[in-house]
Amino acid sequence: MVLDTFLISGLFHVVMLIGLALLLHLQLGLSRIANFGVVGFWGVGLYAFGVLYVRVDWPFGDPIQFVVCAALATVAAGLCGLLVGWLIADLDVDGVMVGTLGFATAVALLATTEQDLTGGALGMGGLRFPYDTGDVAVNELIWLLVLVALVAGILAYVWLVHRNPYGRLLIAIGSNEPLAKSLGKPATRTKLGLFTVTSALMGLLGAMYGVMVRFLEVSSLGIELTLAAVVGLVVGGSVRVLGAVVGVLLTVGVFDIVIQSYIPLPADWYTQTIPLLREVMFGLALILVLVFRPLGLLGHMRRDRLMKRIHGA
């Protein structure tokens, strides 16, 4: 195989973050729901999937077992989205940030303390691919392709949303909720629906990650994942369709794949120095972009061009 396992898992991480950042684009970029608890919804999907897959005696095997557990995990994350979304519905931006951050912290705490189910700080094994080709690298490559297909689907959906009345509604609600309501738009219900579905999909990405790593660790539930998605989205441009893709590639992609794979770094850096360096570089990228290009590298939404393209000048 040309692709080594290290590269495949790096790519998996990048593509997964593009997916998360695209979902965050719908929440934050269009509807202005400042979700700082991305890792919470992702983590609910990850752990719900892991616990269901490993701890429950299913009467059927893979791939049905995977499909059922992943579906239930997606629903669990969606229900969390519904509940959190309902709690934060009337809060201002600060309240939404604190509320979602608090939710993510609670998820990490629960995963750590519920040792009987999750293995706590020791972690939990027993996950596997829902198929087996006999070669781990091939298994992983196939799983990466499945993820690419899913994220491509999300990207296509986002692209369509921008070109249809639903996207306009989200932008309107995000930009002036009282005005949208005064035109008869059910703003609260729309936001809640969006938050539920996007949170559910974050959960699905979590479940897929669980299969890829096959070992659940509570350390993955830290703030790093949320930060990577937020930084990626903001660096690329939070209001643009391709902002998430460009931003994640330029931050996580460049650091995790290009720098770590092709620049010879001392081996003893990998446990402590590199994760630290990563956060510092992301923080720096964020500051630079916010100072010199506050709307991200891709900039404004450009509805003017889009309207001309769709409806003619």
Binding site: P165, N176, L179, G184, K185
Partner: protein
């Protein structure tokens, strides 16, 4: 011989005589931090096509309209909408978006807009039906535009707004777009909060023509204005508010007869 014009009833006059949508307010009270800002015992709007609402700054006119729209909740009292062919609804029990769906809409005194949306976006948003805004309905954009194109272009022509695919509107343009959004909804009740403030005279006239047209088609219009000439010209019923309460109510001529009361609030030379 009887001239023909007196034997045929003009359609807009026929519409004027049909029962109009009517708003009834009973004991509506609203206070902010212990200060009562609106206290309306009994007010019925819609017995006339275009009603005026006047009063000094801070009288509670905007607050009263916001209570009707549900963007503010009253402390107590009831606001009802009666509409021929529809069930009576208690608006004060509904969410703001439901009130708008009942056909009650308002233009804003303070300029409000959706930033990031073009003029065309803003107008399309207004006319798009809910089913087309469903998250999985991903084909409805062109159809929505084609269905409403004629109406949208008619309004844009009327107001002389050009190049609707652009962002960054001037304050006056935002005000006009706010009004057109409401006109496109063909509302049962249209509340106008100082629609002409900040607009040049000829545009004011266009707004008034459009409003007159809508009223002729059966919409109940309530208009807040500080320019009393507009009120005397357009309205057949005027409500004078001060300190949150309805002080006077009647035809323009009757209000002008009470010039001492009105002038005591608005200053000399207004009536």
């Amino acid at each position: 011989m009887v001239p023909e014009s007196t034997t045929t009833v003009r359609p807009e006059l026929a519409a004027r005589t049909a029962p109009r949508p009517r708003l009834t307010l009973a004991n509506v009270v609203k206070s902010f931090a212990g200060r009562t800002v609106v206290d309306v015992e009994d007010l019925s709007l819609g017995n006339h096509p275009i009603e005026g609402l006047i009063g000094p700054n801070g009288a509670g006119k905007t607050t009263l309209m916001r209570l009707i729209m549900g963007s503010l909740k009253a402390d107590s009292g009831q606001i009802r909408l009666e509409r021929a062919g529809h069930r009576d609804v208690v608006l004060s029990r509904l969410h703001a978006h439901k009130i708008a769906q009942c056909g009650v809409v308002k233009t804003n005194q303070v300029i409000t807009d959706f930033d990031g949306l073009t003029i065309l976006d803003s107008l399309l948003l207004s006319v798009t039906p809910e089913r087309r805004e469903f998250p999985l309905h991903l084909m409805g954009e062109r159809a929505t535009y084609e269905e409403h194109r004629a109406e949208i272009e008619r309004q844009l022509d009327h107001f002389g707004l050009e190049n609707t695919r652009r962002l960054a509107l001037s304050a006056g343009e935002k005000k006009l777009v706010d009004i057109i959004r409401c006109l496109l909804l063909k509302p049962a009740v249209l509340l106008l909060d100082e629609p002409t403030a900040g607009l040049p005279g000829e545009v004011t006239q266009k707004v008034m023509d459009a409003v007159d047209d809508l009223a002729g088609n059966g919409t109940t219009v309530v208009i807040i204005e500080h320019d009393l000439d507009v009120i005397w010209n357009l309205c057949t019923q005027v409500t004078f508010m001060a300190e949150g309460r309805v002080m006077l109510r009647g035809e323009p001529s009757e209000i002008r007869e009470h010039s001492t009361v009105v002038e005591s609030y608005l200053g000399q030379g207004h009536v």
